[in-house]
């Protein structure tokens, strides 16, 4: 394996990984007296699939929330695309090109699948209120152009048949897929997936894994994901961060992480004598 700390490298399956897209520097996040994340640093490279794993309560979701702007850490710096990011609201983070899905699906239940995914295009919509009120020129053109992009994503994720179904009526697995579609519709530079396979059966997991790999492959989207299914994580990801009790205990390729003694201890427990 090449040196991964600084620059580009090539993965085992021959994909070229680019420069650093996002870098977290010495992040510490506290809720009152509870330290959720303690002095964690890691980076995400362009084109990479990066996983964050760890036992329950390790601070993985908190970490993702820091990246997506829900929490502002008390200490540390977030660097995105070569610039230090000031404290931001989540919608500003979205406008910078970071999209995410949620552990518990967060779709708009009252809207159709199509409308949900169209909402994901929001950061690409520029027409003003008056143009929209009269449905003239720019507003209509923009709607059609964005619809074309959305239809490509619908094709890609194979959800054509449920296009106009209200999301509330869909089964769990499809909802997960629609949520992925909505995040993809933003054409994000960085896609965050919070437990994309939670609660799925084996086939659904296989489908979802295939979609994640295809997204990375076809659109070149950088992906950071949290997942509990070790088999999936080790197969999908290029590099893995392991967290436990808010601290980083391992970072490297799946093989390196698998053989890391601290990681084994965290997952299997350690003998106290």
């Amino acid at each position: 394996m090449n040196d991964m700390s600084g620059g580009n490298y090539t993965t085992a399956d021959g994909r070229k990984i680019g420069n650093t897209l996002m870098e977290m520097k010495n992040i510490t996040l506290r809720f009152g007296g509870v330290v959720a994340i303690k002095d964690i640093s890691f980076d995400i490279h362009e084109g990479e699939i990066r996983a964050i794993i760890g036992p329950n309560g390790a601070g993985k979701s908190s970490m993702l929330n820091v990246v997506s702007g829900f929490y502002n850490p008390q200490e540390g710096e977030v660097w995105f695309r070569g610039k230090k990011r000031p404290p931001m609201k989540p919608y500003q983070v979205a406008q910078q090109g970071i999209a995410r899905t949620f552990q518990n699906i967060a779709l708009f239940e009252g809207m159709s699948v199509l409308d949900n995914i169209m909402t994901g295009r929001l950061t690409h919509m520029k027409s003003g209120m008056f143009a929209q009120a009269l449905w003239l020129g720019k507003a209509e053109r923009e709607e059609t152009q964005n619809r074309e992009v959305v239809e490509k994503i619908i094709d890609f994720l194979e959800i054509q048949t449920i296009r106009k179904t209200p999301v509330g009526r869909l089964p769990y697995g499809l909802k997960k897929r629609v949520e992925l579609a909505r995040a993809l519709a933003a054409e994000p530079k960085l896609l965050l997936l919070d437990e994309p396979m939670a609660g799925m059966n084996v086939e659904e997991k296989e489908d979802m894994s295939r979609f994640i790999l295809d997204v990375n492959d076809e659109f070149g989207t950088t992906i950071a994901l949290i997942e509990h299914d070790m088999g999936v994580v080790m197969d999908l990801s290029d590099r893995v961060v392991v967290m436990d009790y808010g601290k980083k205990i391992g970072d490297g390729t799946p093989d390196e992480v698998r053989n890391n003694q601290e990681v084994i201890d965290a997952y299997l427990g350690v003998a106290h004598d």
């Binding site: 609201k89 999209a99 809207m111 929001l122 919509m125 929209q132 009269l134 507003a139 709607e143």
Partner: protein, 358 residues
């Protein structure tokens, strides 16, 4: 048989996302418009205009306005009466201050002023939600009624404390004041309703509508995909205020002719419009019309049955009216919580398959 998508192929995205995807619906829409504009004005008389059509049309605008705020954006408002009063009083002040300007422009400006005021009262929505926001808008209702009672400048220091609409005409046709013809009142309201409904439909099917609905359905997820909650909520308050203000201005200038704020724009107005959108269907433009029609027509219908048909005394009929209307509202909410718009959708689903069972 005739109500089918079959054979009606959309080959472009604009075609696919049009308001009435089924051909029959499109023709029905044009027929309704043609009758409303070309037939009804010629057969309109005072009774039909004052009892049915003018209040129905004006309440439809108010219901569309509230539906945008509550049905589409999920922000409950109990201040509709007060906001209508803002429209009415600003229209009155504009009419008396600038008599040479067209009343149509005054009504639009009244909508704009109301939009600004409602946006101001919408600011707390960034911090509070649900019932608590409803209480905040209730405060707006009481404050506005108090303000228009207390400050004589708003009613031009008139002795009675009332405002009354001076006579104004559009293209030589009198549209406000006591000498207005029934058809003129009707036509003015119809034009405003048509424009408002088209604008509302365009806004709700596009980007802005989706941001509103995203905020309504899940505000956290909305924010994560780039919806600025401040902007989304305040635009909903603003657009809603614009429609409600127009409704208030027309209600005073065209329908009532003279108004006293506590009586015409009290809390009962707020509830009336809220009932309209709940019965009609939250988050539906058609529902706003259906709800307004239901709440306006039902008392007229019951009165005709009780007094005209059965010959009962008017006071008894008036009281029975409350009981029956209340009972029907409760029954509706139990049978179809999503309102008349949902019933309409179900009927259309059935009609699409008819005469086959599925």
């Amino acid at each position: 048989m005739f109500y089918r998508e079959a054979g009606d192929f959309s080959t472009t995205y604009p075609q696919d996302s049009q308001t009435f995807p089924i051909k029959f619906d499109r023709y029905r829409y044009y027929v309704v418009l043609a009758i409303a504009f070309l037939v009804l004005p010629f057969v309109m008389n005072d009774y039909w205009a004052n009892a049915v059509f003018v209040p129905f049309l004006i309440y439809s605008i108010a219901a569309i306005g509230l539906n945008i705020l509550t049905g589409y954006c999920g922000q409950v408002s109990l201040g509709t009466g007060g906001f209508m009063a803002v429209g009415a009083y600003s229209c009155y002040k504009l009419m008396t201050a600038f008599p040479e300007v067209s009343i149509l422009i005054h009504v639009m400006l009244a909508g704009g002023i109301t939009a600004a005021v409602v946006t101001l009262f919408g600011l707390p929505s960034l911090r509070i939600k649900g019932f608590y926001l409803a209480v905040a808008t209730l405060a707006a209702q009481f404050f506005l009624v108090w303000l228009f009672n207390k400050v004589p400048w708003f009613y031009n220091y008139s002795a009675s404390g009332q405002i009354s609409a001076p006579e104004r005409s559009v293209f030589g046709i009198v549209v406000t004041g006591p000498n207005t013809e029934a058809w003129a009142k009707y036509l003015v309201c119809l034009i405003f309703v048509t424009i408002c409904a088209v604008i509302a439909r365009n806004l709700t099917r596009g980007t802005i509508g989706r941001t509103w609905m995203a905020i309504r359905d899940m505000d956290i997820a909305a924010e994560i995909i780039g919806v600025n909650p401040l902007k989304a909520k305040l635009t909903a308050f603003m657009v809603s205020g614009f429609f409600v203000g127009i409704a208030g201005a027309l209600f005073f200038a065209v329908y009532l002719g003279a108004a006293e704020v506590g009586e015409s724009f009290g809390i009962d107005k707020s509830f009336l419009v809220l009932f309209m959108i709940i019965i009609g269907g939250l988050g539906s433009i058609f529902g706003s019309f259906a709800g307004a029609a239901f709440m306006v027509l039902l008392p007229v219908l019951l009165k005709n049955i009780f007094v005209g048909g059965l010959g009962w005394p008017t006071d008894l009929a008036a009281h029975l009216n409350f009981i029956v209307a209340g009972g029907l509202i409760i029954m509706f909410l139990i049978l179809e919580p999503h309102g008349l718009a949902q019933l309409w959708r179900l009927a259309k689903e059935k009609l699409r398959l008819w005469p086959f069972p599925h």
